[in-house]
Structures are given as structure tokens and as C-alpha cells.
Amino acid sequence: MSEESPSAEVSPHSNAVSGETSMDKSKRYDRGIRVWGAHGQEALEAAKVCLLNAGPTGTEALKNLVLGGIHSFTIVDGAKVTPPDLGNNYLLTADGLGMPRAQCAAECLKELNESVSGSYVEETPRSLMTSSPEFFKPFTLVIATQLGETDAVTIDGICRQHGVKLVLLRSYGLLGYVRPSVPEMCVTESKPDNKVDDLRLSNPWPELAAHAAALDLSATQEHVHSHVPYALLLLKATKHWQEEHGGKLPSSYPERTAFKDLVNSWQRHVDGIPLDEENFTEAISNAHKVWAPPSVSSELQAVLDDPCAASITQQSPDFWVLVAALRRFIEQEGDGQLPLEGSIPDMHASTQQYLDLQRIYRAKADVDAAAVQAHTRALLEAAGRDPSAIPLPDIKHFCKHARSLRLVRCRSLEEETGPGSCRGSALRQALGQEDTAANAALYVLLRAADRFHQTYQRYPGTFDGEVEEDAALLKSQANALLAECGAAGGTVGGGGGVSDDLAAELCRCAAGELHVVAAVVGAVAAQEAIKIMTGQFVPLGGCLIYNAMACTTSVFAF
């Protein structure tokens, strides 16, 4: 927070101490650390968050971040506490009536976690954005709630200019909207659900090939034979197969069956009956790893091919330097392969054989990481930076996760909503598909409702008697919007454009903040904020629509 910032500190709770001990903190944050690790927690504890508007939606989102242990928060809200606030915002009580809403919410939120400091600004977000856009510069992340489209575009522009991350969210009756807006997020730890084993069975490096060759299966004693790790069995079988088939791998179904039969034929027999050795069973069920090794995913290829990795300058972020080094490795030492990750899966094996094999994979991973390091140093030097600016542990960490690198780029709100730049065809497509049609239409109607508000200074459906008239007006706004961004002709309700029914439903819901919707979207937004602040997991690349009427969600990148 800059010196001249107009925010006021919230006085600490009467019995609050200067901070919790590290022991208390590790207890308090234990369950979170199990999800995002100690380094993720550190990132959270350094994060400064700004909340725009302290309605139920905003305070729900911020509550979850305060519990998670961010460094500090600042609430910007120009309203005073009124009786309707007490109905839907659990933080506010009758004692606070007439007081600044920002102050009351900040005081209550601070009580949730004494390690988090809080402050507030009693001013509307719009006036603060206009008068001092610089105000937002010191923050890590802004959570902007209940803003209409115009204000949303403004705060997005300010955040992008200052390199501040942004999550927009809204509850609108039974409709929820969450939209992360980060120009670029490079995710090293995307934490995919399924781990891929990279065993190099068909293209072993010399040390691995020699290790497999050194083992003479027929000469081993029985208990050694039944404890040879399946990776070694498959390496031997692959080599054998390739020698007999001109270097080719089994490619057809009969060939693959024959390959499995080959492995099976190496089992020990007693009185003509195979022993059913478990390592052989594993080898056969893992044989596909020979002919279907892990490939470079399209997401990873997109990262590798990104222009940011093509030219490294002094200003290039470390991530892109490492991607450039990774590319060079793949082209040169890797011969098309990624650096080896180094870990091997569980296998039926004796302790010694398993450890020996593991050592060989780890050694290769170290060699590969060293090669990536050499490229990194060369790239840094050529860009005029200290060649050792990226330390080896960081490079190893990067190599370990190379297979699951992800890149998320959110379009700016201005691009998304601008008539010339919006993705009308994507919108039209979403409107035409059964599983996304209703939620895409709700997206359009939400934007139309903002235009309605600009025209009439109120949201549609505000007055009970005017629901039908408002619905008609809203529908015409929506159809105008569709025409403007080239998405007309989508077939919701058959007739093209947005159906009467949906428009009427949005009017019936009206624009209020229902607590149950606020709780859901506030939590979704907080979750996205945590992904963005910790740099882990993959955040939404577009907006999420939560439809509490049908209880569905859709994600759109328009």
C-alpha cells in the first residue's frame, strides 16, 4: 500500500497479538498446504488483495481468501450499511446500520484470521477508478464484484496496465458469473489428474540398455527371476523383438499379441506349468508402454511453439527462458524427447533391483537437467543477463514438470466485448449446441441487462408489474448485441437469437444478490484467485456461467 493511499487501517481485534507463531500458522494452514504445498502457502501469504464492493458476493469471495491466509486485503465500497444488507450479508449486523459498509465488512473479515491485515476505502469503485487508477498498482490481485460491463472493462484495463491480476464475479438473481482476467499465466505445476510414466522402453539411453543387457534371465536364480522389474523385462523383450523384425516395434494387433507371448514365454515353469510370476504379469499388462510411449500433448506443443519462447530478451520472464532452453534440449540432446522426469512407477521387484533401476533413471534425469541448464545459461548470457540467474533447483523443478506445462491467456474484457474483436462465431456456436445453449444465452442476457441498465438506469424485472414489458425490451437488447458481434442466427428456441422464455426468466429472477448464489460464485472466484496467486492448477481460460435454475455450469472463452 503506497503512503498516500486513501485507505484506512482497521484496528486490530482487542486481544489480537502481533501475529501467530510459525507453529500456529502451520497448524492453521495444514490442510491448505496439503493441496498447494508450502511454496503455494508462501505465495498466498505474500498476496495483497483488493475487493471492489462488499456485498454478499464480494465478502463471500474474500472470506475464503482470508481463511486461506493472504497477506492483506483492502475493501473499496462507497455504501453505508442499510437494512437490506442485513438480509443477505452475514458479516453485517444491526450495530453497523449507517456505518460505511467497507469498514464493517473489513472489521468482521479481519476477525477470521488475525495474521491477515485489512483496510478499507469508503468510495465507490467507479469514482476511485476514475480519480486514482494508480491506487490499484500495489495489489497482487483485484476481486471486482457486481460491476456492470463498462466498469468491468475499465478495471480490467487498469489491472493489465499495472500487471495486477483480476477476477471478476457477479451474482445476478439465480445467475452467477466468474471471469479470471490474466493476460498470461504460465503454469509449471498444473497437477494433472493422471501421471504419465516415461520409461524409454523402445529407445533406451546407453546406460539403461547396458543395464538390461547385463541381466541374463536364464542364469538367474528363481527368486531373482521372479523379482526382475517389469521395465527390464520389457526392455529385453523390445530389443529381442527389434533384432528379429528389422528394428521395428510391434505395430499390429497380431504382432502385439506375439510380443506379449514372447514375454510370457520367458516365465519359469515347473513340471510344464508356468509359475505365474507377478513381475511377468505386470510386464504383459504394461506392454503398451513399449509401442505407445507418452507423447508431447497439444497443450505443451502450443507452449513450445509460442512466440515468447522464440526470442529471449533481457526482459523475458524466467518461464520463457526455460521453455526456450527446453526447446533446444528437445531438438538437440533429447532427440525429440523431453528431459527424463526420473521417477519410476511401482513395480514388483526385489529391493536391490528396484533401487538399481531407479538410480539409472535418476542419473539420466540429472544429466538431462544439466543439459537444460547449459542451454539456460547460454540463453541468459546471450540476452545480457547473469548466466546463473536461474538456479539449478528451479531448472530441475521445471524439467520434472515439463510434460504438463500449461499456458492460460485470458482475453481482455475490451477484446471480449468490443464489436470488432469479440468472438461472434464462437458465441453463435455455443448458442447452437444443446449442452451450452441455455448458458450461452444467459451470458448474452447478462450483457444485455447491463445495456438495459445504461438505458433505463435500472435492471429489468425490478418492478413486479413490468416483467413482461421488460422481458421484451431485454430481448431486443440481446438481439441487438448478437447482431453487433456477428453472432445472430444462433438457434436458441428455434427462431434465432435469444428466446422469449429465457429473457422472461432473467426478468423474473431480477438482479438481486441471493445469498446461495453468492456463496457458490464467491467460492468459485476465490478458488480461481488461489490458483492464480499460487501459480498452481489451471485456472479458467474464460468466463464461467453458473445457472442455479437448472443447476448447471459452462465455461466460455469468447
Binding site: 496439503r34 493441496v35 481463511l67 452475514y90 449486523t93 531373482v224 533401487l355 444443446e434 446461495v516 456463496a519
Partner: protein
């Protein structure tokens, strides 16, 4: 998905909305009742929230903010520091107090006009009976354990009250709706049971870190500080469990008295004696059993004198901090030893130092707990001891060591639990509750919350219909495979009826034999029961419970009635089936041919593919950590039944 239909029907004129029956069912929930009608129902109904933890706190808040006025809440637990990252109704000053009471008070402050009753208690208690449940219009679960979930499911079925069930783990979550006769009950889909390890592996041939952690937590800890009978470290292995049971018994059976402190023995001396006993004497005994090490690396004993930390000096001096007068009630050995990073893996010296110091601290500072102490994942000193003890054992067996943080997660079966997931799930629970109140049953759904949605974050399916084969909500028969000559009635009651089927006060009968538990038994009935419990099933009165017997089971305290068809297997192998039985809706296919032995082990884990999110709240759930019994095939007796370490 019927979305268009439900949405478009929203424009139907209001007077057609209230025609009874199925036409209402197709309406999306907000329009199934008029706004005023639904609002009134929300205010009038009485709901029960089970659990006031991670989900419970969010749920109670969302309920009162959504206008619910009559709420009751049950939770047994007290507040821990590690709850505060998500259970936002609690403050640091509440640590140690009842979750139910504090949560009720907190939401009452938000809405002073609500009527809320809190019970600090276990839902298994008899005061929460069917009549108690009948008073509610809807039951909302935010629980952290399978046993309680199953109990609530059965009570809700008996009381015919709809149930909304939920669970979270990390970024994943799930919400489902259970209405008797309309949708499947919580137990229609089999749930994974907790992982058990063969005692022999734990005691003699560990090969994974978890084996060492379970040994330290369940065998060593009770032996040192708890009730020794709770540990089977010193018991003989079960008969028929392995190659050379006699030799194992001879060598490994332990005199429990050697784990007791001698008269006048200092705590430091006792700790050192235990170290030498566990990591030298016992390891060498094991090492001498050559049969065990034909295909394994034999364990290496540790030398205490070589592992003393420099600070200890040579004569067993204590670290400076201890000399400086840190009181013996200090709660942490790590603190004294300066090992503050829970994520680092200690070396052998550090493990030895923590072990010695933790044992001594426990004896000196917590003598009142001796003889009854129980392991608790939130008890720092206990976690330190288990970490060090498990790591030292891991070193002996060439298994990789774990950090305190990792060990705590394994020993406490800790499930990731964060605020955001709980909040989303709680919101979804209230939406489902609103649908129930709007009587929009057809729109009730099961929701799944995913980690990251490129297309959607929450996916849904319509609530499935009840399963005809469910033992809980339909009257079904199940197959119970066991060795009737070995399994005693006590084991049947404890392991099968209470352990697996989660009964509380089972009654059973088979032909003329009957057995009953529960309150109100006469003295002579209790004496008779005690004698019966010791008998193997085959020797029970009235011809015994034998092959093809039909065992009738019910539980008066729950809605539960089932018939178990007994399949007797003389060659049932405890090593392959640590639980000692197989229970399934159908006969395992291989059993139709009694001579195929190996097949039993493959079918003994019927829940292998069941992915279940049944944890939540306190972040702890044994069943969510469950994995099926490891697939193992006997190759040559049991010499080959174990594997390598993972490092």
C-alpha cells in the same frame, strides 16, 4: 438433460403450476412453487444439519441467510486450530469448545430471529433415534466419516425423511440427494472400506513407508503410552498366517512387560532402552529368521551410540535447551531440538534424537495419560514420536523416510480440506434442499465438483433410482464367505456386522440359535452372550452357523434387515484376506469352483473401482484413504508375498 424443457416451462401461467403429481416434477426448482410459497416453506420447515465442521459451518450460514428458521445441528467434535483455515464460524478463542454449540451461537447472531438447537453428541447415540429424525422435513449431511454417513442414511430411510449428502476432498466435491423409494440410497453403491495391512507385513516384513507409519501409530504407540491390549505388536501372529508361524511366534512374540518402565528407571533411560530393544534387539531377532530374507534384503539394526546428535555429547548429556530448564511439560521434541521445518526429512541422528526426547517428554510431562493415551493427529508430540519411530524402522528395512508433514497426513488419514470447495458444496446442498421443498423431485441431482473445468466446473447427473440389490433400502441377501471353524461369533459381530455393515446393536438368528445386543438385557442373557461370543460359528447351538446357513441380521436402532448366506471355506487364508471374510451381493464367480484358490484374492476387493468422495470436513476420513487390499497371489506359500520398498 431436459434443460430447455425445464427452462421453457417456467413461463407457464402460475395457476397451472400447482396441479399435483408429475407435471410439477418437470419444472426447474425455482418455478415449481411460486416465490411466496417457497419462501413460506423455507421459513416453516425444520431441517437437521449433521456436522458443524468444514461443510457444516458454510451450510448453517447459507441456510440462515437463505431464510431457514428452524434448524437443529449435531456434532460431537471440539474445535482444533487446524479447523480455522475453513471453519469460519470459529475463532482462535474457541479452540477446545464444542463445534455444534459455537456454530449455533454464531449463526444465531447473524439472524437473531431463528430457532436453532445444538447437540454436542455422536449421531450414533440412542437419543437420535427414528422419532428424532421424523421431526425433520429434510436432513443435510456435512460429515467426515463413513460410519456416521451410513447410520444417518438408514435412519433417514426408516423415518422417511429426504437426505442431502455431501463430501469434499481438496478441490473435489460431491452432493447427492436420497429420497426413499425415489432415488438410490447412500449405500446403494458399494463404498470402499478402509485399507488393512496383513499383520505379518507390519510386524516382520514392511516394505513401504505406510507400513512403518501404521506400525508406529497402531502397534508401538499404544504399547508405550496407551492400553497395551490395543496393540498387537507383542501378540503371536494369527494361526495359519504364514510359513513358519511357530518360528515367528517363538522369536517375535514379546513379553509386554519389557515395554513397561522399571521401578526408579529415568525417562531418558527408558527411552534409550526402548530404542535398543526396538531397533537393535528386535531387528536382530528378525534378521536371524533366514526364511524371511531369501528374497528380501534383511533388516539392519541401528546402533544408538553411533546416532547420538553432537549436542548430546558422549555421556548422553541433554541438549542445551533442555539443560537450560525448558519445562518437562514442553509439548514438542522438535522445538527443543530446533527441527522446525515440518517438510524436511530428518536424518537418522535427528530421528533418534526426536524419538528419545519425545518418549521422555511423554513420560515426564503427560504421566496422567499413561495407560490410556490414544494417537491423535493433532497431538504434536505424538506425531513427532510416530514420525521418528517410523523413520527409524524405515532405515532398518531400507525404506525411504518421510517428513513430519507427510507422516502426519498418513497417520491421521488426512484429507485435503479447503474453504472454497466446502463453500461451493454447501451452496449446492442448499439448492438441492430448496428443490426438495419446492417438491421438484425430478430435478434433484447428483453434482460433482471438479478440479479444473475447461468446459464446466460442476457436472451433474439426475439422481439415480434405487438399486434392487441394495441391502439397506431393499431386502436383499448377501453372500458371506468365511471359515466357520475359525471365525468366532465375537469376530463376526465386530468385524462383519459392526465393522463392515456398521450396525450398532445387532440381533441375529439362524435356525434355533439367536443372539441379541442392546439395552435392557437380563443378567443371565449377558452371561450367556459372553460364552457364545467365544465359540467358533460352526459350534454355536442349534447345529451351528455353517456352509449354506442363512443368518438373519437386524438392528433395532437403525433401519436394517438382511439375510447373509454363509459360504464356508476351510482353506480361507488370513494372509490374503486380512479382514478374514468376504461380503458381497453376489457370489464371487470363482467360488463356484471350490478348488480355484487364487481367484478368491482377486475378488476379495469388490470396491476396487469405486471412486468415492466421502470425506469432508474435519479433513479426516479413513475410508477416503481406502485402497483395495493389494492384489497378491500366493506363489510358494507366503515367502513371496511381499515386495520392494519405494524410495
Amino acid at each position: 438433460m431436459g434443460r430447455d424443457k425445464t427452462l421453457s416451462s417456467g413461463t407457464a401461467p402460475p395457476d397451472t403450476l400447482h396441479t399435483a403429481g408429475s407435471s410439477q416434477d418437470v419444472l426447474a426448482w425455482p418455478w415449481a412453487a411460486t416465490g411466496e410459497e417457497l419462501k413460506q416453506r423455507v421459513q416453516d420447515v425444520k431441517v437437521l444439519a449433521v456436522g458443524a465442521g468444514g461443510i457444516g459451518c458454510e451450510l448453517l450460514k447459507t441456510l440462515v441467510m437463505s431464510g431457514f428458521k428452524h434448524i437443529e445441528v449435531v456434532d460431537l467434535d471440539t474445535i482444533e486450530t487446524s479447523n480455522l483455515n475453513r471453519q469460519f464460524l470459529f475463532r482462535k478463542r474457541h479452540v477446545g469448545k464444542s463445534k455444534a454449540l459455537v456454530a449455533a451461537e454464531a449463526v444465531k447472531q447473524m439472524r437473531p430471529d431463528i430457532d436453532i438447537t445444538a447437540y454436542q453428541g455422536n449421531v450414533n447415540e440412542s437419543r437420535f433415534d427414528v422419532d428424532f429424525f421424523r421431526r425433520f422435513d429434510c436432513v443435510l449431511n456435512g460429515l467426515d466419516n463413513l460410519e456416521a454417513r451410513r447410520h444417518i442414511n438408514r435412519l433417514c430411510l426408516a423415518a422417511e425423511v429426504p437426505l442431502v449428502e455431501s463430501g469434499t476432498a481438496g478441490y473435489l466435491g460431491q452432493v447427492s440427494v436420497h429420497i426413499k423409494g425415489r432415488t438410490e440410497c447412500f449405500e446403494c453403491q458399494p463404498k470402499p472400506t478402509s485399507k488393512t495391512f496383513p499383520v505379518c507385513t507390519l510386524r516382520n516384513t514392511p516394505d513401504k513407508p505406510i507400513h512403518c507409519v501404521v506400525w508406529a501409530k497402531e502397534m508401538l504407540f499404544p504399547l508405550l503410552f496407551g492400553a497395551p491390549e490395543a496393540s498387537d505388536l507383542h501378540e503371536a501372529p494369527p494361526a495359519g498366517s504364514g510359513i513358519d508361524a511357530a518360528a515367528v511366534t517363538r522369536n517375535i512374540a514379546d513379553d509386554p512387560s519389557c515395554y513397561q518402565r522399571a521401578e526408579g528407571e529415568s525417562s531418558t533411560h527408558f527411552a534409550e532402552r526402548m530404542f535398543r530393544h526396538l531397533y537393535c534387539t528386535k531387528i536382530n531377532e528378525l534378521r536371524n529368521m533366514e526364511d524371511l530374507w531369501r528374497s528380501r534384503r534383511p533388516p539392519q539394526a541401528l546402533d544408538l551410540d553411533a546416532l547420538r546428535m553432537p549436542a548430546y555429547g558422549d555421556g548422553g548429556d541433554q541438549p542445551a535447551a533442555i539443560e537450560a530448564g525448558v519445562p518437562a511439560t514442553a509439548s514438542s521434541a522438535c522445538k527443543e531440538l530446533g527441527l522446525s521445518d515440518a517438510h524436511s526429512v530428518w536424518n537418522d541422528q535427528q530421528n533418534a534424537a526426536v524419538f528419545l526426547r519425545a518418549v521422555a517428554l511423554f513420560l515426564d510431562g503427560r504421566s496422567h495419560e499413561l495407560g490410556s493415551a490414544q494417537f491423535d493427529k493433532d497431538d504434536l508430540l505424538a506425531v513427532e514420536l510416530v514420525t521418528a519411530a517410523a523413520n527409524l524402522r524405515a532405515t532398518c528395512f531400507g525404506i525411504s523416510r518421510q517428513s513430519l508433514f507427510e507422516t502426519k497426513g498418513m497417520a491421521g488419514n488426512i484429507i485435503h480440506a479447503i474453504a472454497t470447495t466446502n463453500a461451493i458444496v454447501s451452496g449446492l446442498i442448499v439448492v438441492e434442499a430448496m428443490k426438495l421443498l419446492a417438491r421438484s423431485f425430478a430435478s434433484c441431482q447428483t453434482s460433482f465438483l471438479q478440479v479444473s473445468g475447461s468446459k464446466r466446473l460442476v457436472s451433474r447427473m439426475s439422481a439415480p433410482e434405487p438399486s434392487a440389490a441394495c441391502m439397506v433400502c431393499s431386502t436383499a441377501q448377501a453372500r458371506l464367505v468365511l471359515n466357520a471353524n475359525k471365525m468366532s461369533l465375537q469376530q463376526l459381530v465386530d468385524k462383519v456386522l459392526k465393522g463392515r455393515l456398521a450396525l450398532i446393536a445387532p440381533s441375529l438368528w439362524c435356525g434355533t440359535f439367536s443372539y441379541e445386543e442392546g439395552e435392557g438385557l437380563e443378567e443371565d442373557e449377558i452371561t450367556r452372550n459372553r460364552k457364545l461370543l467365544l465359540l467358533p460359528l460352526a459350534q454355536l447351538p442349534g447345529g451351528g452357523v455353517v456352509h449354506n446357513s442363512i443368518l438373519h441380521v437386524d438392528d433395532q436402532e437403525q433401519c436394517f434387515k438382511a439375510q447373509l448366506i454363509i459360504t464356508h471355506r476351510e482353506d480361507w487364508d488370513d494372509e490374503q484376506h486380512p479382514e478374514g471374510f468376504y461380503l458381497g451381493g453376489d457370489l464371487p464367480p470363482a467360488l463356484t469352483e471350490p478348488s480355484v484358490e487364487a481367484a478368491i484374492s482377486e475378488t476379495a476387493s469388490p470396491n476396487e473401482d469405486v471412486v468415492s468422495l466421502t470425506s469432508d470436513d474435519d479433513g479426516v476420513a479413513a475410508e477416503a484413504a481406502a485402497r483395495p487390499v493389494a492384489k497378491r497371489k500366493a506363489i510358494e506359500g507366503n515367502t513371496d508375498s511381499s515386495k520392494r520398498p519405494r524410495t
